[in-house]
């Protein structure tokens, strides 16, 4: 043939780039350009200035919404951890059949569109829903308002985001060498001290991964808080939606989006320095 192997590989060097090209073009058109557009808009709408940022960073309403967003995200993260850690533990350490069943339930809920799950919560928590009916049945004359409250939006967000937490913690738990636990036992550890000194630190990477993922996703959550939450306790994504949909304040909405993006990137950077982003997806 006369074509040496080294020449062949030299020629094929451009292949990886060619293979990446379609995705690259797609990302350019549908991600980079719109994002750049939002960034530009935040400075030039309605006129070229820093006015939008000034408003976002100093306005009492915006500060309150940002703060509320962070507190909500933190609370949802904590709830996901409280629910997810024991469940992940069960999955990692029970008999294969039980583990499979829990895994199936978690992934089934994970694969169901979160819009569907959000509407499902509307039905369940609504004034004519089964939960209210149940409360009335057991004799509570005036059941509390469940839907359109902080409670309902938090509950639904925990439900939607818990799988991220569970899968992250589970993958770390599953990889723990059983010899480590045995060795801890042989050295005199049991129960709580075994958990605190050995098991918990060994699962810490999973907790960190899951928490960052849940927290970051929750910061930008739109549909669930808008549909289920109290209008008085908006989250930032909802407020951005308002600016764009109702007030046509594209500049202000864009500035808010950029602030949210920067905060998210800062969190991810700190996380990356500490643990490494590459570990985030298991």
């Amino acid at each position: 043939m006369g074509v040496s192997l080294s020449k062949l590989t030299e020629k094929t060097d451009i292949w990886p780039w060619l293979l990446l090209a379609p995705l690259g073009v797609y990302m350019l058109i549908f991600f980079v350009v719109p994002l750049a557009d939002v960034a530009i808009m935040s400075f030039v709408e309605p006129k070229v200035s820093f006015a939008n940022y000034q408003k976002v960073l100093t306005g009492a309403l915006y500060q309150r919404v940002f703060l509320n967003t962070f507190l909500t995200a933190a609370f949802v993260t904590l709830c996901c951890l409280a629910v997810g850690y024991p469940l992940a533990y069960l999955m990692a350490h029970s008999k294969p059949r039980t583990a499979m069943l829990i895994l199936l339930l978690v992934t089934m809920s994970f694969w169901t569109s979160f819009l569907v799950r959000t509407y499902a919560w509307m039905v369940l928590l609504g004034n004519n829903g089964p939960l209210i009916a149940f409360l009335q049945m057991i004799g509570i004359e005036q059941p509390p308002q469940l839907l359109f409250t902080r409670f309902s939006s938090t509950l639904a967000m925990v439900h939607i985001l818990a799988p991220y937490m569970i899968m992250n913690i589970y993958s770390v738990m599953k990889k723990i060498d059983p010899a480590l636990i045995r060795s801890a036992e042989s050295l005199g550890a049991k129960g709580w001290s075994l958990f605190r000194h050995v098991y918990l630190p060994l699962t810490a990477p999973g907790i960190a991964n899951g928490s960052v993922l849940v927290f970051v996703i929750c910061l930008g959550f739109y549909v669930t808080p808008v549909l289920l939450g109290s209008p008085r306790e908006q989250m930032i994504a909802g407020l951005i939606g308002h600016q764009v949909d109702e007030f046509l304040a594209f500049g202000l909405g864009s500035a808010m989006a950029m602030v949210l993006l920067v905060i998210t990137l800062v969190i991810l950077t700190i996380y990356h320095r500490r643990f490494g982003l590459d570990k985030l997806w298991g």
Binding site: A179, R182, S186, G188, H197
Partner: protein
């Protein structure tokens, strides 16, 4: 010497499979005992039952006269070094060693001091602040050893701890472990499938096979006076010759291929009894011509494996495979495919009745 560890009729079954079949053993205080056997022979299962990670189906484990069969692993006060060391990756070396003391309520300052002392004993002075992943395999091994010893356990169990190390380091660690074990006088059970490790380290070797103890004896006894064909074949290299006793008084036997053979030993045998004769390859003399005054056997050389200082000559005497170990300098007298004479002294022939 008092018996420190006492295993009585330990049995372990998994469904219909019997993993351990009436294993009984008594280990003296300060003794270094090796469990040797192929994988699946029951040696590790026995170790896990002593440690408390496996529950025996029957029998009892006693340490210092007290039954520990009902105790959980954390109540047994037994130090274990696992195959892959099982060091806690989130703790430094000294924190790893401090851990068992911490679990026993020893204060941090005092405990860390004790842990540092133990690290010095295993030759790791100044390495305490490192995490396991910053230590070499041999160093991790030492940390694991220090951690298993720092709380003065009643027993030290070592589960194939040298398997992951390269040859030179392994030999070094064999000597180290022996030194540390002697200096502390801790009763030790060492599990391995490596016979040279067992030979060089043990006060006593317990050979396991198919869930039973084949033989428990000092290393040289195991080598020179194996009680079963399995032990003879498993430990060292061996020529096992099936034979029938022809004259028990004169100590002669006969093999259909080799003819009459002399044997040694004091065991009482009867004429016509089927036995196996063991001749170690290094006890066989190889020569071109028959040696006067000995029974000579003709052997065809098939393969010569040279090791430099010595060589292994593999051949066949009739239908019997033969292995002869010769000094490296002597191997020049013979070539593959040639016929030669092999002979041995009566004292080198050991009779195995099982």
């Amino acid at each position: 010497m008092t018996s420190h560890l006492q295993l009585s009729d330990i049995t372990k079954t998994y469904g219909h499979f019997t993993a351990l079949d009436n294993v009984s053993l008594s280990v003296d205080k300060g003794e270094f005992v090796t469990f040797l056997g192929p994988s699946g022979s029951g040696k590790t299962t026995t170790l896990m039952i002593i440690a408390g990670f496996e529950k025996a189906s029957g029998g009892s484990v006693k340490v210092g006269g007290q039954s520990i069969s009902q105790l959980a692993p954390h109540e047994r006060n037994i130090g274990i070094v696992f195959q892959n060391y099982a060091l806690f990756p989130h703790k430094t070396a000294v924190e790893n060693v401090y851990f068992p003391l911490q679990m026993r309520g020893v204060g941090r300052a005092q405990g860390l001091r004790q842990a540092e002392d133990m690290l010095s004993l295993v030759g790791l002075k100044g390495f305490g602040h490192r995490h396991p992943k910053e230590l070499s395999g041999g160093q991790q091994q030492r940390v694991a050893l220090a951690r298993a010893l720092v709380f003065e356990p009643s027993l030290l169990l070592l589960d194939e701890p040298l398997g992951a190390l390269d040859k030179n380091l392994r030999e070094q660690m064999q000597i180290e472990i022996k030194r540390i074990q002697r200096s502390l006088g801790v009763t030790t059970i060492f599990v391995t499938h490596d016979q040279s490790e067992a030979m060089s380290m043990s006060d006593r070797i317990v050979v396991f096979e198919k869930g039973r103890i084949e033989q428990a004896a000092a290393p040289l006894d195991i080598y020179h006076r194996p009680q079963t064909s399995f032990v003879a074949a498993f430990i060292g290299e061996s020529n096992l010759i099936p034979a029938t006793i022809t004259n028990a008084a004169a100590r002669t036997a006969e093999n259909p291929t080799l003819g009459g053979l002399d044997y040694s030993g004091t065991e009482v045998l009867s004429n016509g009894q089927k036995v196996t004769l063991l001749v170690r390859p290094e006890h066989i003399k190889l020569s071109r011509n028959p040696i006067e005054g000995r029974r000579n056997v003709r052997m065809t050389v098939e393969t010569i494996v040279n090791y430099g200082d010595n060589a292994l000559v593999i051949g066949r005497a009739g239908d019997l495979p033969m292995r002869v170990r010769v000094l490296g300098a002597d191997v020049v007298i013979i070539k593959e495919g040639e016929e030669c004479c092999v002979s041995w002294m009566r004292d080198s022939v050991f009779v195995i009745t099982r």
